[in-house]
Structures are given as structure tokens and as C-alpha cells.
């Protein structure tokens, strides 16, 4: 076994040990109240928060690297990559400068208020048109009972949610059908999903604590 393989083996073992140790500590802190355990847990959480924040910064750097390579390779979207990098740098600089120079804040806020927010809002608005069009063509592409039920339910919900112009709510639809659909059927389904998510999260945590899963690397 060479040195590199030995180091890999040791590192994987250490990683697994560390992950298990700290996971157990965090779990114990939930069950037992102790200053040390609490402090240790807070420390770990603080470190995790710091790492998470730095991970965002690393993500941004990786974004820059990817788009820079696209620019170097002269890909088809190299122009968009260039624009992205430029805007990223400008916004980053504005944010840095705005912290030390409040006069720059309107600029930094304007970039967000007049560029990012309208763009995202517009995408959300287009989504309304897209969903409507998809609902219209749903039966043409997949004519089955599920599709019909889906569309009928959607119509009922919409009709029960809003008041018709000049008519107001549809009697029985807004007070009975819509609450029944949204708060009974939908909620029940949601509950099941949430329980499953919770249980899965528990199992995932136990697997990490037991070393069965190693999402941090290694086999």
C-alpha cells in the first residue's frame, strides 16, 4: 500500500470518526442539558455557520471559475458568462464599498431593486401563463383520469379561492369544496409527506452517526 493510499485510508477513517463524534455530541446535547454539552454544541454550530458562510463565498468563487473557463473556451454562452462575471464583480464591490461608504447604498440597493427583483418577479409572472397553457394542453398530451382529476381540482380550487367578479364567491364552492380540498385532502397528503420527510431525516442522521453514510467524502 503506497503512502497516498495510506493517507486516504487514514483520512477516511478520521473523517468518519469525527463525523460520528460530533454527531453524537450534538444529539446528546439535545437529550441532556449540560453546560459543556451545550457549549460544545454551540461551538459546533457556530463553526458550521461559519463554514456555511464561507461555503457561499466558495460557491461564488467557483461560479467565477466556471464562467471564466467558458470565456476562455469561447463557448456559445461565453457572452453571458462575461456579463455575469462583470455584474458579480460590480455588485460585490458595491456591497463592500457600501459598507464603508453609505452613500453607495442607494446604488447597491438600486441594483437589487431595479434589476434582480423585477427579473425574478417577471419570471414568476410568466409562470402563470405557462401553467395555464400547460393546463390547456394537458388533456391533449395525456388524456387519463388523473389528468382530468388534476384539472378539475385545480378549477375547483381556483373557483373556491377567488371571488368571481361581480358575483362574489360561489356558494358551496368557496366555503365547502375549497376548504375540503385544501385543508383535508391536500393537508392529509402533506402530512404524510412531512412525516416521511421527518422519518427519512432521522434515518439519515442515524446512518451518518453510525458511519453508514459518509456524505463528507470517502467510500
Amino acid at each position: 500500500m503506497n503512502l497516498k493510499g495510506l493517507f486516504a485510508t487514514i483520512s477516511r477513517s478520521w473523517l468518519t470518526a469525527i463525523a460520528i463524534a460530533f454527531g453524537v455530541l450534538a444529539l446528546i446535547g439535545y437529550f441532556f442539558t449540560s453546560t459543556i454539552l451545550t457549549g460544545l454544541r454551540l461551538l459546533l454550530l457556530d463553526l458550521a455557520v461559519i463554514l456555511a458562510g464561507f461555503a457561499v463565498f466558495v460557491g461564488v468563487a467557483n461560479l467565477l471559475n466556471v464562467h471564466s473557463k467558458k470565456i476562455k473556451r469561447h463557448d456559445k454562452s461565453a457572452s453571458y458568462s462575461t456579463l455575469l462575471i462583470i455584474v458579480l464583480i460590480v455588485t460585490f464591490l458595491l456591497g463592500l464599498v457600501a459598507r464603508f461608504f453609505p452613500a453607495v447604498n442607494p446604488l447597491f440597493n438600486g441594483a437589487f431593486n431595479y434589476i434582480q427583483l423585477p427579473v425574478e418577479a417577471s419570471l414568476m409572472a410568466i409562470l402563470a401563463v405557462t401553467l395555464t397553457y400547460a393546463a390547456v394542453r394537458l388533456l391533449r398530451r395525456r388524456f387519463n383520469w388523473l389528468s382530468v382529476v388534476f384539472l378539475v381540482t385545480a378549477l375547483l380550487i381556483i373557483f373556491g379561492t377567488v371571488s368571481l367578479p361581480f358575483l362574489g364567491e360561489v356558494p358551496g364552492l368557496s366555503g365547502l369544496v375549497r376548504p375540503l380540498l385544501s385543508q383535508v385532502f391536500a393537508a392529509s397528503g402533506a402530512r404524510g409527506i412531512l412525516l416521511g420527510v421527518g422519518l427519512g431525516t432521522l434515518a439519515m442522521g442515524l446512518r451518518v452517526l453510525f458511519g453508514a453514510d459518509r456524505p463528507y467524502g470517502g467510500k
Binding site: A48, L139, R140, L155, G168, E169, I193
Partner: protein, 907 residues
């Protein structure tokens, strides 16, 4: 055991065989030397009768070169006379002339067929017989010394030999050198000189009876001493056997007499022999002792001949450096021959002993009365030889006649081969002539003009091959020295004229000499490599056969074979179909030759094969979306949403009577908060949902602001702090309270880590968020006064559009909330997922979407954005519902129609 190498295939055969056991070619030439037993001619042997029918196959010269496959052209028999040997033609001419001139005393020498000093011009040397000279010259080592000595004597006596006689008779007569030498003997008894044999004298064929002897041959009998015709069997002077070379040369006077007084009966071949012997003896002094060969190699009787004759001696045989002695040991008859004059050259024959042809055995040479002493010395068999001097005579046999009247020795005295020789040997004929005539068996009699059908005695001569050990007797030095082509039929007088012989042109003339001269140019390696006997080489028709000058057209189109047994012949069929010459087969490369095109095919095939196992990417179906529908829907929706804003005063939608989702819990909760209560507000929604959430959260925040609550803003989204700032600045109803950062609210900023951050903040908020977005210390500000834990807040309001974010807040901070209520303001899309938390009691209030906001505003009676967006929202929703309903109906109808049409298509 002695072996004979086949002239055709070159393989060794036993000496006793006449025909090659491998290729069935004749091994022994039809020379008047020995019978089919291929035994050397011994004195006293009975001559072997030879048929002359084979001579009928020769073709006239006028016909030109005979090509293979050609049909024989019928010719007048008179034309065939050219095919006859010169000596034979001369004999015929003498016969004809004998009728007019019966008395034609031929000098002893002149009459001798092998008289080299004959007046007649040397006949044309047949090219195919030229090789005899060269072969004989070259292969002297194969010729017994005693025989070669005879030739030398002949050459010395005769300056030039007649080769034509040799060409005519070919190998049939065998070596004629000895015959030419016999002509040189002073004794007129040409029979003695011509029949000088290595062995004891044998019975001469002439003794068999003069009645059988043609008249022309009778005239060859040595009558005059001066004219001693060397009795040549059938060849020229150049074809005298080697043993004859040891005979003393016929004195020059005798030669001159022989030449000056041509006898009627002297055949042409004898004259040629004389001439040839004279040629072959060039360079050899006439007075050279007859036997230059060591005497110990010559028989006694031959040595006597040498001693006796002091005149010209027969020129040495070509290829033989041995000159017979002066003839001290020669018999008397031979000595007489030497005294007479130049001895006709021995007929050049193959290495084997020349066979005595039948025709020569059947006639007796014209007797010429030799000198008294010569007559006494000449044996009877030799004395019976007819000396026929003439222009056409060529030395064709090995006989040299001595003085005229010399008796032919008896049969028991002469060897068989000699007994068969013709007595018409002209003395004085050059050995070259005889060698040229008899040396090459392939020299056909076609060189001569056709004189008609051959007599029986001429056609019936069978060729007997001399022993392989013996050198050819009548091969001149030229031919012996010159490289000879291989595989020559060594038949001096073939019973069956081979094809190559029939193709030859009789009139070679001056070309023969040129051919003879050219022969030495041939590489000696050929002969050595083949190891052919000299007599075979002499008969090789390399250049002498091909008449290049006369038939240029043929030669241009035909290939002349240069190697193998058919060397020198033209028109030879190639060895294989379509192959003119054998060549080394082309070497084909083992490596596979692939062209570029084949390489491409290979690569294509390889790609196809490998592509079979490779899964192909499934191309997604790109449905062609009708853009008109989208434009229509967009237009309708825009219209529905925009019209209320054009008419803000008009209220198209009545107020909602519906209760909010939490059924007024949020309203009650917020109404129960004390004034100036610290409230934590988490802005965890995206900018895309800012319109809905700001509209939905505005009444609540407004209510809290109206209570003077201290607001703490935090966000787990990077855009949360900015949205929070924007919410307090731009949101209707909220901005009316003009909350200021750091005074009424504090913005803690972004909490990283997601759930971990929430958990950290929930556990230790001051540790998690120590500063504000402006960098100031947050926990000393008025909004956060008295707040150290999450439970210190009066309420926690979570503004989110994502159910997971709400769930994280609920799960991470729920245990640290204590009694602090948590209220969520969510988007309508997250309501189903968050509703259970409200139903479970983890959430104390839930406001979901525009309808709840509308209801909240109505309950609180502070119209805000929800009231402003309520008409647009209702109208837009109605348009969307109608479009969807229309689509459902239309799609159902189309599907139903297609479903109905399917059975018809199947049918």
C-alpha cells in the same frame, strides 16, 4: 563405368545407351564411327549399314528457315540437293559428270574428298557445322591424343578446309579431321590415309564389294599417287577423327595435284574437306610432323604413318593440342596417304567416335593409283576408295584417301566405324572444312542446295555415338575452343533428321565463317557448365543455324533461344503458355496490402460494429409548441389584470366573505400583543415572491407597527435583509409608520447555515447575530433591549414562500420558543405543507396568500395592497379558469373524436 552426358538434358547416361534414358534423345551421333553399340571404332570391325532415308528429311536452302508448325512445302527434289552434304553433292555431280567425262583422272590428292588443296573453292561453310570446328578445337581433351595428332597433321598440310561438306553431312559423318589428314598423305592410296584409325585397321567398308560402290565413289579410289584422296566417310576434311590427326600430312604436291586434276568422281564433300582441312591447318606448318601428339598416345600404326610422311601433316583437330607424330608407327597405307598430300581434315564429330554412315560403307572410293610405294603401303580398304575431286565435295567423312588406287584395308583390319566411311575423301582438304562439316550434328544438309531425294545409302546411315570418354574425332580446334551451346544432337548422319536440322538453310556461305568466328565469343562458362562433349558442342546450332542475315523478319519476331538444349534456334516455343523466357516468379509480399479505400471501409465497419453495443442517446421529442396559444393566454391575462388598474375606483369584486385559513387566529394573536413588544420577523422569501408576500404580510406588520412593536429582522436567505429593508420602505401601509433602522427595527442580516444557523440563532441569538447589517452592535440597540434568547421575543413571524424554510424554523427553533408564538405568513403554494404545523399547534397563526390578506385587511379595516390587487386577482383568476376550462373541454372533445375514429381505422 563410362557415362555419356545427354546433349539435351545434360544428364549422365551409361555409355552403352544410344538414347537418353531421361529425355529419349540420342546420345550417340550418327557418325560413321561406331555402330549403335557406341563402341569405339576398331580396326577390323564390320561396318554398320546405315540407311539413307534420313537424308530425305533435309530441306532445301531456298525454302528459308523452317518455322515450327509450318507445313512442309513441297519442293522439287532437285532443290533438295542443297540439303545434301557438299561431299554428297559433289559425288552426285561427279556421277553426272562421269557420264560425260568418264575419264577423269583425279590426282590423288585432288580426288581425295578431303583434299584441302583442291581447286574447287571451298564450299560454303554451313553455319550449323561450324560448331564442329570449334567444338573440336575446344574439347581436345576429350579426343584421344593419337587422333588429335592426326588432325594436327592434317591442318599442317591443308591450309583451309572445306566446312561445307561438314555442314552438309553434319554429324552424320562424325569427325572428318582424320579424313582431311588422310588427304595430306603423299600416298595416293587415300583409303589408307582416310581410314587411319586409332585402332588396328579394320576391314574397310570398301572391301565389301566394289559392286556396291557407286561409281562416284569408285572414282575416289586412289589411282594416282599424286592424287591421293583421303577417303572421307561422308564428312569434310575438318571432320577427320582425331586419330587421323596423327597421320602424316599429305605432301603439298599431292594436294596440288589433287586440286589441279579434279576427278569426276570426287564428291564435293571431299573437296570441301580438303578446303577445310586447309583452313584448320592454318598456322600449322605443312611440314609439321604429322603427329604432334605424344607418340606414346598414338597407336603404333598411326605413328608409323607419321614417321613415314614428311610432308604436310593433317592439321590438328580443333580443340586438340595434340598433333600426331610423324607417323612412324603408322601403317603403310596411312603413310602413303601422308605422302600424297594434305590430308583431308578429319571429319569433326562429336566426342564419340564418328559413326561410319552406310552410304560410305557401301561404296568404294575411286581408286587412284598411288605411288608405287604408296600403293604398296595403302591397305586394300583404303585403296578402294574413290577419289573424287570436285567443287562440291566436302569432307563429310573421316576418311582420307591416300594415293589413288590405295586399297581399302580389309574389313578385319579397319574398325567398324572406319569401314563404313565413304572412300571419297579428298586429300588436302582443310580440316576446318571437315570439322565444320561434321563437327556439328545440327548443321543440316540444308546448307547445300537440294539435289533431290537422298539415296538410300545416304539416308540409311545411322548415327553411332562415340564413347563419352573419347574426344570427338573431327572437331576442329575452333569449335573445340569455342563455347558450345548445350544439347546438340550429335548425329553426323542422323537416321531421323531432327527438326532443327531441317530448319537450317543450306547456304550459309560466308556466314559460316563469321559464325565460326562468333562462336568463340560465346562465354565459355556455358559449355563448362553443361559439360557437353565436344562433338555435341560442335553440332550446336547456335549461330550457324540462325540465318540472321537472310531472315531478319523472322528473327525480329521470333525469340532466339540462348540457353538450354535448344540454344541457337529460333521460333522455339516458350517454355510455358505465354512465357517467352523463364524467369523468377515474382515474390509476393506476405503482408496484406490494404489501400486507403479499404482502410476507410474497415474503419466504417468497425464503427458500425462497435456502435451496436453502444447505447444511443434518445433524442427527446421536441413538440412543436404553438406560440399563438401562449400569446393569447398572455394577452388575456394581462388584460384581466390590467383593467382594474385602469379603473381603480371601480370595484368589480365584492369583498370576500371567506374566513382566512387560520380563522382569525393571527388577528387575535397580534391584537393580544402588548405594545412595544419585541417581535422577531424572519424574511426568508425570494424576490420572485416578494409581491405576494409583501401584500400578504403588510396588514400584519402594519398591525404590529400600530402597536409600536420593536421589530427584529433576520433572514436565512442572502436576499432577505435587502427585502426587509425594501419592505419597510416601499410596502403600502408599512411605510406609513416610517420605522427607522436601529430605532424601531434592527436588521440583523443574514444567518448562514440554514437549519444550523436557525438552531444557533435559536439557542444563542446574540452569538449567532452579534452585529447588524450596518456593522453596528445589534444587541445594545433599543429594538433588542432585554432580548437574549429567542423566547424573549413576544412573537416570531416567519415570512417565507417555501415550506421547507418554514419547517426548518419550526423544527429548529420550536424548542427554544417557549411560549413565544410563531406565526407564518406564507405563499398560497406552501399552504398545504404548512397547514399541518398550524393544525398541530406548532404555529399559532397562519396567513396564506392574497385571500387571507384580503380577509385580514377586511377584519382590520385597513385596505392595503390586498384590497388593491383583489379585483385584478379575481379577474385574472377568472380568465385563467375559463381558459383552462375551455382547454379541458376542447381536449376532451378531440380525444373523444380520435377514440371514435380508431375503431374505424382498425376496421
Amino acid at each position: 563405368m563410362a557415362e555419356i552426358r545427354c546433349p539435351m538434358c545434360g544428364k549422365p547416361n551409361p555409355a552403352e545407351l544410344d538414347v537418353c534414358q531421361f529425355c529419349q534423345a540420342r546420345l550417340k551421333p550418327l557418325l560413321p564411327s561406331s555402330p549403335s553399340t557406341s563402341q569405339p571404332i576398331k580396326a577390323g570391325e564390320q561396318p554398320v549399314h546405315k540407311g539413307t532415308a534420313e537424308f530425305e528429311k533435309v530441306k532445301p536452302v531456298d525454302q528459308g528457315s523452317i518455322r515450327p508448325g509450318e507445313a512442309p512445302t513441297k519442293k522439287n527434289t532437285a532443290e533438295l540437293e542443297r540439303a545434301l552434304p557438299s561431299w554428297l553433292r559433289s559425288l552426285r555431280g561427279e556421277q553426272e559428270a562421269a557420264g560425260s567425262a568418264s575419264e577423269e583422272a583425279a590426282p590423288s590428292n585432288e580426288d581425295l574428298p578431303f583434299d584441302s588443296a583442291a581447286a574447287k573453292p571451298p564450299a560454303k561453310r554451313v553455319g550449323w557445322l561450324d560448331g564442329l570446328d570449334k567444338a573440336s578445337k575446344k574439347e581436345e581433351e576429350a579426343v584421344p591424343d593419337w587422333l588429335s595428332g592426326l588432325r594436327d597433321e592434317e591442318k599442317a598440310a591443308e591450309p583451309e578446309a572445306d566446312h561445307t561438306f561438314e555442314a552438309e553431312t553434319g554429324s552424320e559423318l562424325g569427325s572428318a579431321d582424320w579424313v582431311s589428314r588422310l588427304d595430306n598423305t603423299p600416298a595416293p592410296s587415300t583409303s589408307e590415309s582416310s581410314f587411319s584409325k586409332p585402332a588396328s585397321a579394320e576391314a574397310s567398308p570398301f572391301t565389301k564389294g566394289e559392286a556396291e560402290t557407286p561409281s562416284w565413289l569408285k572414282s575416289l579410289q586412289p589411282e594416282k599417287p599424286a592424287t591421293s584422296e583421303p577417303a572421307a566417310p561422308a564428312g569434310g576434311e575438318e571432320k577427320l577423327p582425331d586419330w587421323d590427326s596423327g597421320l602424316p600430312a599429305i605432301p603439298a604436291d599431292s594436294q596440288a595435284e589433287a586440286e589441279s586434276a579434279p576427278t569426276v568422281d570426287q564428291p564435293a564433300w571431299l573437296d570441301q574437306l580438303q578446303e577445310k582441312s586447309g583452313l584448320m591447318e592454318t598456322g600449322v606448318p605443312a611440314n609439321e610432323p604429322a603427329g604432334s601428339a605424344p607418340k606414346e598416345e598414338l597407336p603404333d600404326w598411326l605413328n608409323q604413318l607419321q614417321d613415314k610422311t614428311a610432308g604436310t601433316e593433317p592439321a590438328p583437330r580443333p580443340g586438340e593440342g595434340v598433333v600426331p607424330d610423324a607417323g612412324k608407327d603408322l601403317p603403310d597405307w596411312l603413310n602413303q596417304l601422308q605422302e600424297k598430300g594434305p590430308v583431308a581434315e578429319p571429319v569433326p564429330s562429336a566426342e564419340n567416335e564418328p559413326a561410319v554412315p552406310d552410304w560410305l560403307a557401301n561404296f568404294s572410293p575411286p581408286t587412284e593409283e598411288p605411288g608405287p610405294s604408296a600403293r604398296e603401303a595403302v591397305p586394300d580398304w583404303l585403296s578402294n576408295l574413290e577419289v573424287r575431286p570436285g567443287p562440291g565435295t566436302e569432307a563429310g567423312s573421316a576418311f582420307t584417301q591416300g594415293e589413288a588406287g590405295a586399297e581399302i584395308p580389309h574389313a578385319e583390319e579397319l574398325p567398324s566405324w572406319l569401314s563404313q566411311l565413304q572412300p571419297q575423301a579428298q586429300p588436302g582438304e582443310a580440316a576446318d572444312t571437315s570439322n565444320a562439316t561434321f563437327g556439328s550434328a545440327s548443321e543440316p544438309s540444308a546448307a547445300e542446295k537440294g539435289v533431290g531425294p537422298l539415296p538410300d545409302w545416304l539416308a540409311g546411315i545411322e548415327q553411332t555415338a562415340p564413347p563419352a570418354a573419347e574426344a570427338p574425332a573431327f572437331i576442329g580446334e575452333e569449335k573445340a575452343n569455342a563455347p558450345q551451346p548445350e544439347a546438340i544432337n550429335a548425329k553426323p548422319f542422323p537416321m531421323e533428321t531432327p527438326d532443327w536440322l531441317s530448319k537450317l538453310t543450306p547456304e550459309q556461305g560466308p556466314e559460316e565463317k563469321s559464325l565460326l568466328e562468333e562462336e568463340p565469343s560465346l562465354p565459355a562458362t556455358e559449355l563448362e557448365a553443361a559439360a557437353l562433349p565436344s562433338w555435341v558442342q560442335a553440332m550446336r546450332p547456335v549461330e550457324s543455324v540462325v540465318d540472321q542475315a537472310k531472315t531478319p523478319a523472322l528473327d525480329e519476331n521470333q525469340v532466339t533461344e540462348h540457353s538450354g538444349p535448344l540454344a541457337g534456334l529460333t521460333g522455339v516455343l516458350p517454355s510455358g503458355p505465354g512465357l517467352g523466357m523463364s524467369r523468377k516468379p515474382p515474390a509476393y509480399s506476405v503482408k496484406l496490402q490494404v489501400s486507403n479505400t479499404q482502410q476507410r471501409y474497415i474503419s466504417n465497419l468497425e464503427q458500425l460494429v462497435t456502435g451496436e453495443t453502444r447505447p444511443s442517446a434518445i433524442k427527446g421529442e421536441r413538440q412543436k409548441v404553438k406560440s399563438s396559444w401562449r400569446w393569447l393566454i398572455s394577452a388575456l391575462l394581462l388584460l384581466a389584470v390590467g383593467v382594474p388598474f385602469l379603473f381603480p375606483q371601480a370595484r368589480m369584486t365584492p369583498p370576500t366573505a371567506l374566513l382566512p385559513s387560520d380563522r382569525g387566529a393571527t388577528t387575535a394573536l397580534l391584537n393580544g400583543l402588548p405594545a412595544n413588544a419585541p417581535v422577531l420577523i424572519a424574511f426568508d422569501y425570494d424576490p420572485a415572491l416578494s409581491g405576494e408576500l409583501e401584500m400578504t404580510a403588510a396588514p400584519l406588520i402594519d398591525q404590529l407597527q400600530s402597536k409600536g412593536a420593536r421589530l427584529t429582522l433576520v433572514s436565512t436567505s442572502p436576499t432577505g435583509p435587502v427585502l426587509a429593508e425594501r419592505f419597510f420602505l416601499n410596502t403600502l401601509l408599512v411605510n406609513s409608520h416610517q420605522y427607522k433602522s436601529g430605532e424601531q427595527y434592527v436588521n440583523l442580516g443574514y444567518i448562514a447555515g440554514g437549519p444550523a444557523g436557525i438552531s444557533l440563532f435559536a439557542t444563542e441569538p446574540s452569538v449567532a447575530m452579534p452585529v447588524t447589517v450596518s456593522g453596528q452592535s445589534a444587541w445594545g440597540t433599543p429594538p433588542l433591549q432585554g432580548i437574549s434568547r429567542l423566547s424573549d421575543f413576544a412573537a416570531v413571524i416567519i415570512l417565507t414562500g417555501d415550506a421547507d424554510t418554514g419547517r426548518n424554523w419550526i423544527e429548529q427553533s420550536g424548542q427554544y420558543m417557549g411560549q413565544t408564538p410563531m406565526v407564518m405568513v406564507i405563499s398560497a403554494q406552501a399552504e398545504p405543507m404548512v397547514q399541518p404545523y398550524f393544525d398541530s399547534g406548532q404555529l399559532k397563526g397562519l396567513v396564506s396568500g392574497l385571500p387571507d390578506a384580503k380577509s385580514y385587511e377586511q377584519s382590520y379595516n385597513r385596505p392595503g395592497l390586498a384590497n388593491h390587487y383583489w379585483d385584478s386577482f379575481s379577474l385574472g383568476a377568472l380568465i385563467a379558469e375559463l381558459i383552462i376550462a375551455f382547454g379541458v373541454i376542447w381536449s376532451t372533445w378531440v380525444a373523444w373524436r380520435s377514440h371514435l375514429s380508431k375503431p374505424k381505422q382498425k376496421a
